[in-house]
């Protein structure tokens, strides 16, 4: 598989590893101005028809979601299928699903930055945007799934004359408030800060006074001053260093929602690393699902190259294998512990009434990413989108299996029951995708989808390296 031929002239195969030569991350002999042109064209040129089609569809879905939320608040949580004994069902599954997806963006931005992975520069902006939108979708669920959503502000430690008491800081549900709140706000700051130089680029290219005003406002008067760049870079590094443990801690705290309880199948110390690995796994899959169409619709294959996709697929393979290892470990401990409740919990997962969910999860999460061992799969956009969709389906089912099987059959058989979702569960989940897609489409239309200044930075490095290697020859 030395080279892959494509009919698309922009699709250049830079996945080949030649010893002593780093492959280029920006293909097609780009210059600074051609990079600027390529990215700014996304927002400046008229949107392709597919954008309007998708936007119409997603905004209708988002509207449905908002009206269902209104119906939920007016009627009550009874419209969902939450019932004895599974009182925590789809809403919490959806929350963990969306929060997990969000973590990939921060990982790409922060952790890959710390690891000096220059290839992150093509994907970090879109991934961070995906994080923000995923966290928005996630944060909706805890707010509405409490019985009285209009009192959700009681979770915050404000001096309440009404309650005359403070929140319970020993509860993981409250740790969630702080963790997800911190994560949402820090991700927002990081994303916005990263965009300021690129919004300045948009400002300087604006044709209409309105655009210039709005982009000028958002870019805070950025001039590209080196003194500013130096503080900016320092701040970026610090934020990356802060966001890295944040990624790990936030999904750990989310896993504590389950791990801190006593329910068999939940009360296990494997949950924090297992959840974090799963979050990165599903997040990268979602990034893949979004970016592969984006790169081909907006003709960005020279910036989001095959090597970038290849690297992302390797991460998907690695984290997918980690998740598979976690499943195996759980089974081992269920046997090794000789704890009858623990053993039963896992037998029940695989062979009980929810066996169909369990095997969907295993086939999607463990088996499908193993296809990425093959280079053909790793570098074929169609195959990777299909696999990434399967991965997301599998990860949703993983959270479903964890939550519902353990609740539906815990310690006392007389308490067992079978859970069924209602149509509102499904419609609202579907609606959250509408919100997500709407926001992402708006992002593509108005904001820089790729970190232009960072790409130029690595273009400069590559040119420098090129010049030096020629000197040495």
């Amino acid at each position: 598989m030395a080279s892959i031929t494509y009919s698309n002239p922009r699709e250049i195969d830079n996945t080949v590893d030649v010893p002593g030569r780093r492959s280029t991350l920006v293909t097609g002999n780009q210059t600074f101005s051609s990079v600027t042109e390529m990215v700014c064209r996304v927002a400046e040129a008229p949107q392709p028809t597919i954008w309007y089609v998708l936007f119409g569809f997603s905004s209708l879905t988002a509207l449905m979601f908002v009206s269902l939320i209104g119906y939920l608040i007016l009627t009550g949580v009874g419209i969902w299928g939450n019932m004895n004994p599974v009182f925590w069902a789809w809403p919490i599954v959806n929350f963990v699903f969306w929060v997990g997806i969000g973590h990939a963006g921060t990982l790409i931005s922060a952790i890959l930055f710390i690891f000096r992975q220059n290839w992150r520069t093509s994907i970090n902006r879109a991934a961070e945007a995906m994080t923000i939108f995923a966290v928005i979708c996630a944060a909706i669920y805890p707010g509405i799934h409490v019985g009285r959503a209009w009192l959700a502000f009681w979770m915050f430690p404000y001096p309440s004359l009404n309650l005359w008491m403070w929140p319970q800081f020993r509860s993981p549900l409250l740790w969630d408030v702080f963790a997800v709140g911190t994560y949402a706000s820090v991700s927002l700051l990081f994303w916005y800060m990263g965009m300021v130089p690129d919004i300045a680029t948009y400002r300087d290219r604006s044709k209409t006074p309105l655009r210039r005003f709005l982009y000028g406002l958002l870019s805070l008067g950025w001039t590209g001053s080196s003194r500013h760049w130096l503080r900016y870079e320092k701040a970026y590094t610090i934020l990356a260093a802060l966001a890295a443990p944040l990624v790990l801690s936030v999904h750990t705290v989310v896993s504590f929602d389950f791990a801190v309880s006593q329910v068999p199948g939940w009360h296990t110390t494997i949950f924090p690393p297992y959840f974090v690995a799963g979050a990165i796994f599903s997040g990268f899959a979602m990034v893949m699902t979004l970016l592969v169409p984006v790169r081909s619709i907006y003709k960005l294959e020279n910036l989001i190259t095959l090597r970038h996709l290849d690297n992302m697929n390797k991460i998907i393979l690695a984290t997918g294998s980690l998740v598979g290892l976690a499943y195996a470990t759980e089974f081992f401990i269920a046997w090794y512990s000789q704890n009858m409740f623990e053993s039963f919990a896992f037998m029940n997962r695989a062979f009980g009434p929810y066996w169909w969910a369990y095997w969907t999860m295993v086939s999607c999460n463990v088996i499908s990413p193993q296809l990425f061992w093959f280079k053909k799969c790793r570098t074929s956009p169609i195959i990777m989108v299909i696999i990434s969709i399967f991965v997301n389906i599998g990860m949703w089912f993983e959270r479903f299996v964890i939550t519902v099987t353990s609740l539906s059959r815990d310690f006392l058989p007389s308490s067992w029951g079978y859970y069924r979702p209602t149509m509102y569960d499904g419609l609202m989940f579907f609606g959250s995708f509408g919100v997500f897609l709407t926001l992402f489409l708006l992002f593509c239309r108005f904001l820089p989808v790729i970190a232009i200044s960072e790409i130029k930075g690595i273009l400069s490095i590559e040119a420098h390296r090129e010049a030096h290697s020629h000197d040495h020859h």
Binding site: S33, T36, W150, P157, W164, W166, P167, F169, R170, L174, W175, F178, A179, G181, T182, S185, V186, L189, F190, M193, P197, A200, T201, R203, D204, R205, P209, F213, L217, L220, G221, W222, T223, G224, S225, S226, R227, H228, W229, L230, R231, Y232, E233, K234, A235, I238, L239, L242, A243, P245, L246, S249, V250, V253, F256, I452, S453, K456, G457, S460
Partner: protein, 480 residues
């Protein structure tokens, strides 16, 4: 500071802020920057589309103190979160949860960690923009349209006119020597700038609109209204349940409280109404007067002469007892005289049951004996004399406040109706606890039967004993 020579005559000469040179790539910029630095200029800056490596060294820019600010604020965040949690959950309103420690530091750590990161991150963001003195929307560097390429692909070097050593000509010469793409002065933009129409119209609308809610609220506060305030979230304030005295359309008679269905017995109804459970007939309460009371005296016992030991001992041993005791003792002989002035026995004046509602049988008496010996004999003694083990122990301890248990052979007790005795067993009297919880009504009636048997045994004649048992009695008498 310096006069403009090349600008056409305008009303105001735009101020100059020094020279700006433009370069095509970062290497020329770096070379030029080093030259400028080495010439001793410090109020300089470079403008680039991306951060150029080595520019800080080339221009002599010192590192920023931002990391230290972030570190300090991180500690502040840590302290704030720890203080908040400890004060709120361990001092101000401690949650007492199955003896777990109030100061549960491990449980507090997640919030402390997140808050530290939160404070640090916010500080990083705001301090960075603050140190950069941004947002700054009006900047003379933007005047030159060539500068628009700074965010695209051109690199600029600026020597500010406010530099200590600034000299317009020498700076111009220095920069010209670096072979820039262009070299122009930085001037202030004197063209008028207005917000785009739609923006200021939108802002004006928002501003005017922001007064509307305040006006509405002020109006509502200042005026009266016949309607109650808006109640948005009902919670459970209006419940569709029916309260006892309310009307309803569900039933034809419009009452919510329904009469008892004929032929049914409500839960607890018997215990409230049936003399078997009460010891008295509640329907006859109205008919009780002292005059009638005599008719209710139990006919099972003839009032006999008080036996030698019981009443005398009782009187001696119970000095705190009411004088009614003495009255009762007197009342005993003329059982049939109407005791006009005699007050009722210590206890309620109720229409007691006089006949046993349960059939008297030897099974009942055996049951009564068993239960009496289990529950009653500890105080009242096996023979009913009030000399049970508890009493004897109390006498031993001599603590001075012991009220001796009543002897069941006391004429007052012998004169009580069976219902009264049943009532005493069920509800207790004075120091005596109630035994309704440990004895079923049937068992209590059995105990009353046994008590009557005991009482009879102290007031019987040898003629009352069946012939074939008399020999046994003679033996027992001799053993005494």
């Amino acid at each position: 500071m310096s006069a403009k020579k090349t600008q056409p005559a305008v009303a105001e000469k735009p101020k100059s802020y020094g020279w700006m040179s433009e370069y095509v790539d970062e290497h020329s910029l770096l070379a030029a920057s080093r030259k400028v630095r080495d010439s001793g200029y410090t109020k300089t800056d470079a403008y680039t589309p991306f951060p150029v490596h080595g520019i800080d060294e080339a221009l002599g820019i010192k590192p920023t103190i931002l990391p230290f600010i972030v570190l300090c604020m991180g500690f502040v965040g840590l302290a704030a979160a720890a203080t908040m949690e400890i004060w709120m959950n361990a001092v101000s309103y401690p949650y007492i949860i199955s003896g777990k420690p109030m100061l549960s530091i491990p449980a507090f750590i997640p919030v402390i960690f997140e808050t530290t990161v939160l404070f640090s991150a916010f500080t990083t963001f705001f301090a960075m923009w603050g140190l950069n003195l941004l947002p700054r929307f009006s900047n003379p560097v933007f005047t030159n349209p060539r500068f628009d390429r700074v965010t695209n692909d051109r690199f600029f070097l600026h020597v500010d006119s406010r530099d200590k050593y600034f000299n317009r000509e020498s700076v111009r010469e220095l920069l010209a020597g670096t072979n820039p793409e262009s070299l122009e002065e930085v001037v202030e933009d004197s063209t008028p700038s207005k917000f785009p129409t739609i923006i200021w119209m939108g802002l004006a609308t928002l501003l005017v609109g922001s007064f509307v809610p305040a006006t509405i609220i002020a109006n509502m506060r200042a005026s009266n209204d016949e309607y109650p305030r808006w109640h948005v979230f009902f919670d459970m304030d209006f419940q569709p349940k029916k309260k006892a005295q309310s009307t309803t359309t569900i039933f034809a008679d419009g009452r919510t409280s329904r009469p008892q269905v004929p032929g049914t017995v409500a839960r607890g109804q018997l215990e409230e109404q049936d003399p078997f459970y009460l010891g008295y007939d509640p329907t006859k309460i109205a008919g009780i007067t002292p005059a009638n009371k005599v008719l209710l005296v139990s006919s099972q016992d003839e009032p006999k002469a008080p036996s030698l030991d019981a009443p005398v001992e009782d009187e001696a041993a119970k000095p705190a007892k009411e004088t009614e005791k003495a009255n009762d003792a007197k009342k005993e002989e003329p059982a049939t005289t109407a005791p006009a002035a005699a007050p009722a026995a210590a206890g309620p004046n109720l229409p007691w049951v006089t006949d046993f509602p349960v059939a008297v049988s030897s099974d009942m008496l055996v049951l009564g004996q068993k239960k009496f010996e289990i529950y009653c004999s500890v105080c009242h003694g096996v023979g009913g004399d009030g000399d049970g083990l508890v009493h004897r122990r109390a006498e031993q301890l001599q603590q001075g406040y012991w009220l001796p248990p009543t002897s069941l052979h006391d004429p007052r007790i012998r004169g009580q109706e069976v219902g009264n005795i049943f009532f005493t067993i069920s509800n207790g009297k004075g120091k005596m606890a109630n035994y309704a919880a440990v004895l079923t009504p049937k068992e209590r009636w059995a105990v009353v039967m046994y008590i009557r048997a005991l009482q009879r045994s102290r007031n019987a004649d040898i003629q009352d004993v069946p012939v074939d048992q008399r020999a046994k009695i003679e033996e027992v008498k001799k053993a005494d």
